[in-house]
């Protein structure tokens, strides 16, 4: 995967977020404060604008996304996604191409960043659960077929979203609900799954 593919991925994701804005906000209204769609849309719209003029390498591209999210999203998701992309940008220093093998380290770094920032080690019904599922899936040794990797990541993400629907939230705003959070999809988990589904779709075109 080259920088042009990454740009495509991010640009397409910005569109997806725009399309799913109300849906994400509805999920957040049910167990949060009803702004996750607006937050993400604001941040990714800015990413889209910034990327238009962007000419740099892979690491810079992730760094640009990180900075833009940190300074335009706000809320819990801004620093969390921002940290993930920051850590991934570090891993990509000097690289011009992301190999199937590279994804292991890349996702590890992003996932760890979210875990540290959010103080969670999983099972607490947050976006971290989905990042972890995707990261674990990437560690499986199943050849070096990029297309199949992305489709596995995408499936693992979606599966985890469904699974964690039945969890009780213990972190973030949804935790105030206690048992009443059970049965609802966590908005940050949904936006994370969309990120990897978009990766899969963009790369299979």
């Amino acid at each position: 995967m080259k920088v042009v593919d990454v740009k495509n991925w991010f640009c397409r994701y910005a569109e997806v977020i725009q399309e799913k804005k109300s849906f994400l906000t509805e999920l957040d209204s049910a167990i949060g404060d009803g702004d996750h769609g607006t937050n993400m849309a604001r941040g990714w719209k800015e990413v889209q604008t910034q990327l238009k003029a962007f000419k740099g390498g892979l690491s810079e591209c992730f760094l640009l996304v990180s900075r833009t999210l940190i300074s335009h999203v706000g809320g819990a998701s801004g620093p969390l996604y921002g940290t993930a992309f920051l850590r991934m940008s570090m891993v990509l220093k000097e690289k011009e191409h992301i190999s199937v093998e590279d994804w292991k380290e890349l996702l590890n770094a992003g996932c760890e960043g979210i875990g540290q920032r959010g103080g969670t080690s999983g099972g607490e019904k947050t976006m971290y659960d989905v990042w972890l599922a995707v990261t674990n899936e990437a560690q499986q040794e199943t050849g070096d077929d990029e297309r199949s990797l992305f489709s596995r990541l995408s499936e693992a993400a979606r599966k985890k979203v469904e699974e964690s629907k039945e969890l009780k939230a213990l972190k973030g705003r949804a935790s105030y609900l206690g048992d009443r959070s059970i049965g609802h999809i966590d908005p940050g988990s949904e936006s994370t799954a969309l990120l990897f589904e978009t990766l899969d779709q963009t790369m299979s075109q």
Binding site: S29, N39, I70
Partner: protein, 333 residues
């Protein structure tokens, strides 16, 4: 939902412009940054005080900027914590070299963004300390959750820390009184109606015509219990019991109270509730030495209110009475 606005995405910026225009001698607006600052900041030899959070809680936080309270307030989008770069702007604008205290409400978003801002400020050589307010007794303890939320009691923390800073105390001392306050302040709220975010355009939840949500958060986060509408007396008692039974109140304490409207509850009703709260506290043999009745920390257009109880000591009582000159709270000289 009916709101008087132009483009919903500009509402926060336009509101801040309107606030500054109402009081140009007191406030300066760092445009594009969502930051309101005292015109005379940084104040020489004074610890800087910064607070903030999502918008939609007006007069919090910009209404509390001025002598004796905050030096700057950072506004995020509606119900969304401000970003670290905005918080950093505020910190830089108020640092006189004596350091800056950030007063943060306990929400994941606020804590994360203020943390990142503090790191950035430290990198620029500014001394920054942080206190986290968590006065909402409706939330179970932190073993099961992110911990208790910061709600209306935060305004009392602004007041006492602001007074201490105004007296020329060190950053350490200002932080100490803020933390002492936090240990002695408890609150709880109730919603009669949901609120509607300008961009969402529909209510954040629904309540039947005779239903209320007890233990609501200031962002319309669901509370602990949904019941039928109660009388002012019964409802006050329900919240007050829950607050009182939490540490640290005892008979004989001198206390301050706040009856805070959530946005759409008329002053008429807030005063009836205040009367009930005073009756309750008199029964508990507490002496109420200060009452704040009005809108201090709202939730957009939500109907409902919160009660706050503040256990005083000599130091806190005198800090609470210290002169203050902000848009929303003004007294003494």
């Amino acid at each position: 939902m009916k709101k008087v606005m132009n483009q919903p995405e500009n509402i926060v910026d336009e509101m801040l412009e309107g606030m500054v225009q109402a009081t140009p001698n007191r406030l300066r607006y760092l445009k594009g940054k969502g930051v309101l600052v005292r015109t005379d900041a940084p104040v020489d030899g004074k610890v800087g005080l910064v607070s903030g959070g999502g918008s939609g809680h007006e007069p919090a936080h910009g209404g509390f900027v001025g002598r004796g309270m905050l030096d700057a307030a950072v506004a995020g989008e509606v119900f969304t914590s401000p970003t670290p770069d905005r918080i950093l702007e505020a910190i830089k604008a108020v640092d006189s070299g004596k350091g800056v205290l950030c007063i943060v409400k306990n929400y994941t978003g606020d804590v994360l963004n203020f943390d990142m801002a503090a790191e950035l400020a430290a990198a620029e050589g500014i001394q920054v300390e942080q206190v986290v307010v968590n006065d909402d007794v409706a939330v179970e303890d932190s073993t099961h959750t992110t911990g208790r939320r910061g709600i209306a009691g935060t305004v009392f923390v602004h007041k006492i820390a602001g007074a201490k800073a105004d007296q020329g105390a060190s950053l350490e001392e200002v932080k100490r009184v803020a933390e002492k306050g936090i240990r002695r302040i408890r609150s709880m709220g109730v919603a009669l109606t949901p609120c509607t975010l300008p961009e969402a355009g529909k209510p954040s939840f629904t309540l039947e015509e005779d239903e209320i949500e007890i233990g609501i958060g200031i962002h319309g986060e669901p509370g602990v219990e949904r019941t039928k509408l109660l009388s002012a007396s019964a409802l006050t008692r329900t919240l007050a019991d829950r607050i009182y039974d939490d540490l640290p109140y005892r008979a004989g304490d001198r206390v301050a109270v706040m009856v805070n409207g959530m946005g759409s509850t008329p002053l008429m009703e807030l005063n009836v509730i205040h009367k009930e709260f005073i009756t309750y506290l008199n029964e508990k043999q507490n002496q109420v030495v200060d009452s704040w009745v009005g809108e201090y920390m709202t939730s957009l257009d939500m109907a409902g209110f919160s009660l706050t109880l503040f256990q005083l000591d000599e130091e806190l009582e005198s800090l609470l009475a210290h002169p203050v000159d902000t848009m929303a709270v003004r007294f003494g000289k």
